[in-house]
């Protein structure tokens, strides 16, 4: 650092040149590239065959898993829903449903329905009249 301040430190280019000049160049021409390639590939072919077989087996499992996981999740959710619904009291729901569905649309229907049992086999008109009287709070 002191040298740097005094200006004695060589610039990066000089350092790079010195490093390159002093370092042995890779002897690319001395290498038998075909032989090296051949040595690599002689073993690579075996490795590739082995790992490819392993990968195919694994890919198969992975493919099934990728499809199986969502299917399982949906099935589990559906099963849970069925179980939850199966545990609820169904009868009151049906009654409620029928009650609402059976709500008379007219006042006459209501009165007839309510008055009918009170007067046995009386005529519908009489029952209606009596029901109207009863509905209004008068004695028959």
């Amino acid at each position: 650092m002191n040298d740097e301040r005094r200006g004695h430190v060589p610039p990066p280019d000089a350092l790079r040149r010195a490093l390159r000049a002093a370092s042995p160049e890779p002897p690319l021409d001395a290498v038998d590239w075909d032989a090296l390639h051949g040595r690599v590939m002689a073993q690579a072919t075996q490795i590739l065959a082995r790992t490819t077989v392993r990968r195919r087996w694994w890919d198969e499992v992975a493919a099934w898993a990728s499809r199986g996981i969502p299917i399982t999740a949906v099935s589990a959710a559906a099963a849970a829903l069925v179980l939850v619904l199966g545990g609820l009291p169904i009868a009151p729901r049906i009654v409620d449903h029928e009650t609402f569905a059976a709500v008379p649309m007219t006042l006459e229907d209501v009165l007839a329905a309510e008055a009918g049992p009170l007067f046995g086999d009386g005529s519908a008109e009489d029952a209606l009249t009596l029901a109207l009287l009863g509905y209004e709070g008068e004695e028959p």
Partner: protein
């Protein structure tokens, strides 16, 4: 660390072969994934020179570098599944080469005390004009040997092989900023160690 950028190499004066175009690499990689041995042969052919050059920078020995390259290509194939889809092949491959060379050098340093100099003639005398170079080389060897391994490797990749700091970062599995910092530190150490010699050279 981002590994997305394809490695094209800055190919400085010291660099030999630029890294091959990554587009054909991607197609070859897909074929290799499908079990195509011929495609892997093509990948090896496209990258073995640069791989050898990198290994040689670290080991400074031809046969050792060849062994490392051979081993690296086989190791790469065994780990091919770890090469994420879309990730460029070259920096991933060169990282395997660098790691292999560093491991080899560590193991070799146990066996040998010194690398065999290759510019010595059969009769043991250095070639003409090699005395100064030998001195510079000796000083550089001392200086580079004093560097931490990571800094030394970064210097070899950037200053000698011509990779950019970003490319070296991809190969080393570091961030660009970290590589730049190490490079700065290494340059400062080397400049201080070599200042007298470089001053004479000017």
């Amino acid at each position: 660390m981002g590994m997305g950028a394809p490695l094209r190499s800055s190919a400085g004066a010291g660099a030999h072969d630029a890294a091959p175009d990554p587009a054909p690499d991607a197609r070859l990689v897909e074929r290799v994934r499908a079990g195509d041995a011929e495609a892997y042969g093509e990948l090896v052919r496209r990258h073995m020179r640069r791989a050898f050059s990198i290994a040689y920078r670290i080991l400074e020995h031809r046969e050792d570098a060849e062994d490392v390259v051979q081993e690296a290509f086989l190791r790469a194939l065994e780990r091919f599944g770890s090469l994420e889809p879309g990730r460029p092949f070259a920096p991933w491959m060169y990282r395997i080469v660098v790691n292999g060379a560093l491991n080899y050098r560590r193991a070799r340093s146990v066996r040998r005390t010194e690398a065999i100099p290759e510019d010595v003639r059969a009769d043991g005398t250095p070639p003409d004009g090699a005395a100064e170079r030998a001195e510079l080389r000796r000083r550089l060897k001392q200086a580079t040997a004093s560097l931490p391994e990571r800094q030394r490797t970064i210097v070899q990749l950037v200053e000698l092989e011509g990779f950019t700091s970003a490319e070296a970062a991809e190969i080393m599995g570091l961030s660009d900023g970290t590589v730049r910092w190490h490079l700065h530190q290494a340059r400062r150490t080397l400049r201080e160690a070599l200042a007298p010699l470089l001053e004479e050279e000017r």
